[in-house]
């Protein structure tokens, strides 16, 4: 028996021992039963299995990863089936199935065979001979997405955004005298507010110039493009900061689970 096999057995035995003990100890505590203890132990085992990838890829991680894929697919299927298939399709096509599943029947509507047929066509993707039929369903999905997105993006992400960019470049203007006499670097002051509006107006304009590739970025256009890059760099920096924040929060969440729910070390 080689060294790595021995280690594998030792680690497996240790894992069985630790999690077995955890189950018994938690289950024997007041306010817990063996089922709860088993479930929290399983959750802890899966959490640690995923974290073990930090050391290196290993069978425990692979086990957890593969389990996640299976459970995840089944989860979406089950909820989709009950919420939309039973909740929206059956009430329009089958009174007897509605009675069986306990959902109100809304009257027969022949048009609801369209999504049923297209849905079945989509499943034809699994067949090598009839796979082309799934293009019809895909075409419906693509057409709906395109039709829905076109107007909404035009209104909210283009027209509204352009409109919101035209902001007063000097806010709360009461003349040149008060501007200097009341000058401050307060976050709510006139200078900071005006500066913000300048940055928004110029920043959006320069950012768009950077994305405009039909003209060579030279001269004044080049300077504007360069400024656009700086604005985008600040944007990416802010995004990085927030990404760090988000990922750390998830880790805090998992470690809190281990220390609080599993080990009971913190209240």
């Amino acid at each position: 028996m080689n060294n790595s096999r021995i280690w594998s057995i030792v680690i497996f035995a240790a894992a069985v021992l630790i999690f077995g003990l955890s189950w018994i100890i938690i289950g024997s505590q007041a306010g817990h039963n063996l089922t709860d203890a088993f479930l929290v132990t399983v959750a802890a085992f899966l959490t640690l299995s995923i974290l073990s990838f930090l050391y290196k890829d290993n069978p425990y991680y692979k086990f957890a990863e593969h389990l996640f894929v299976g459970v995840s697919a089944a989860y979406w299927m089950s909820v989709g089936f009950w919420s939309t298939f039973v909740g929206n399709l059956l009430p329009r096509i089958s009174p007897s199935l509605c009675t069986y599943f306990g959902v109100p029947y809304k009257g027969f509507d022949i048009f609801f065979f369209i999504p049923l047929i297209l849905g079945v066509f989509l499943l034809m993707r699994l067949s090598s001979k009839m796979g082309w039929l799934s293009r019809w369903s895909l075409a419906f999905i693509v057409g709906t997405t395109a039709g829905l997105n076109l107007i909404r993006y035009l209104r909210s992400d283009f027209i509204s955004q352009v409109s919101n960019t035209f902001v007063p470049l000097v806010t709360d203007w009461r003349g040149i005298g008060p501007f200097f006499s009341d000058f401050s670097l307060s976050i709510t002051g006139q200078f900071a507010m005006s500066l913000s509006n300048w940055v928004i107006f110029v920043g959006v304009f320069c950012g768009l110039i950077y994305f405009f590739f039909s003209k060579e970025h030279k001269g004044a256009f080049g300077y504007a493009s360069r400024m656009g890059i700086w604005v985008l760099m600040i944007t990416f920096g802010a995004s990085f900061g927030y990404t760090v924040m988000g990922r750390v929060s998830l880790l805090v969440g998992r470690l809190t689970f281990l220390f609080h729910d599993w080990l009971g070390l913190v209240k």
């Binding site: 930090l54 050391y55 989860y75 979406w76 909820v79 989709g80 919420s83 939309t84 909740g87 929206n88 009430p91 306990g102 959902v103 109100p104 809304k106 709906t144 997405t145 829905l148 997105n149 909404r152 993006y153 209104r155 909210s156 992400d157 509204s160 955004q161 919101n164 944007t235 802010a238 995004s239 927030y242 990404t243 760090v244 924040m245 988000g246 750390v248 929060s249 998830l250 880790l251 805090v252 969440g253 998992r254 470690l255 809190t256 220390f259 070390l265 913190v266 209240k267």
Partner: protein
């Protein structure tokens, strides 16, 4: 705050950083597993010692709070749980705070999901918050759980004009027409406020594009930190307020506690998580500095 816990945490972090600093000024490589271990400790130790800090709401969070606070009692608020377990530690404190606030203020709350993975979290929030902290509130009268529907933006495109076309029953199979809370509700346009808590697609952005803007309905968002910067262009004209990441949740909790002393003793997961979060930020900032020191040391040596 646990003073000794803070001292121990800072000592461990300082010791690790000192080791890293020495390695950096010598331009030596640091084993990636050391960085992983150190990061784990920087987060774990503050959790063990319950380290937390006080928070103050920033304008964008305050705007979200005020929007709910200033609605007259009995207003109709729709809260959509559009997230999965991968975002839950960040955004669950937000949904908890929104639900508490809406219930305390006496609003009527309509729950729904655009993510299938959010459905069990609504059931848990109802059990954990409404049924225990607000036992007088009745299902179907003060709140209703509409549940999940597949299709994302397709769902929004229907319920913006006709909720019953999409939702025939609530999540428990009860006909919507038999629920008093649904009287007079035809579409999303009958809602006084839409709250989306999420971080992916569909999420807050889709609520603005497919419901808020076309229906002229106020939208407030809560989102995972990763997507918060992307939503700033909508604020304040298209999005009334935004809670970005756990920091946003903590700020909302502090505002809620300040305004409603009854919540002083209720769990504040957002505020609690900001302790380890702060320590981790400290470590990451140190990593950036030391990484750059190492880079410039190597550069000066011509390596």
């Amino acid at each position: 705050m646990n003073k000794w816990g803070l001292i121990i945490s800072l000592t461990i972090i300082a010791a690790g950083l000192l080791y890293l600093f020495i390695k950096s000024i010598r331009g030596r490589d640091v084993e990636r597993r050391f960085i992983f271990l150190f990061m784990g400790l920087a987060v774990a130790v503050p959790i063990l010692f319950n380290i937390s800090f006080s928070e103050k709401a920033t304008p964008i969070v305050k705007a979200a709070f005020d929007k709910i606070e200033n609605l007259p009692p009995g207003s109709k608020i729709l809260i959509s749980f559009d997230y999965d377990p991968a975002m839950a530690p960040e955004v669950n404190p937000m949904t908890d705070a929104f639900v508490r606030h809406a219930m305390a203020k006496g609003h009527r709350v309509y729950f729904m999901n655009l993510w299938a993975t959010g459905q069990p979290m609504v059931a848990t929030a109802i059990d954990r918050i409404i049924k225990t902290e607000f036992p007088e509130k009745k299902n179907g009268v003060d709140y209703v759980n509409l549940g999940y529907k597949a299709g994302g933006t397709g769902v929004l495109n229907v319920i913006i004009t006709d909720i019953r076309k999409m939702y025939l029953t609530d999540v428990n199979g009860i006909n919507l027409d038999s629920l008093p809370i649904m009287n007079g509700i035809r579409s999303l346009r009958d809602m006084d406020l839409l709250i989306s808590v999420g971080g992916g697609l569909p999420g807050v952005k889709e609520w603005v594009l497919f419901a808020g803007d076309p229906g002229h309905i106020p939208v407030v968002g809560g989102c995972a930190a990763v997507s918060a910067p992307l939503l700033y262009p909508y604020y304040p004209n298209q999005l009334m307020g935004l809670l970005g990441g756990i920091k946003g949740a903590a700020e909302y909790e502090s505002e809620l506690k300040r305004k409603y002393p009854r919540f002083a003793e209720t769990p504040q997961p957002g505020i609690k998580m900001m302790g380890p979060q702060t320590m981790a930020h400290l470590v990451i900032m140190a990593f950036i500095i030391f990484g750059n020191i190492s880079y410039f040391v190597l550069k000066s040596r011509g390596e």
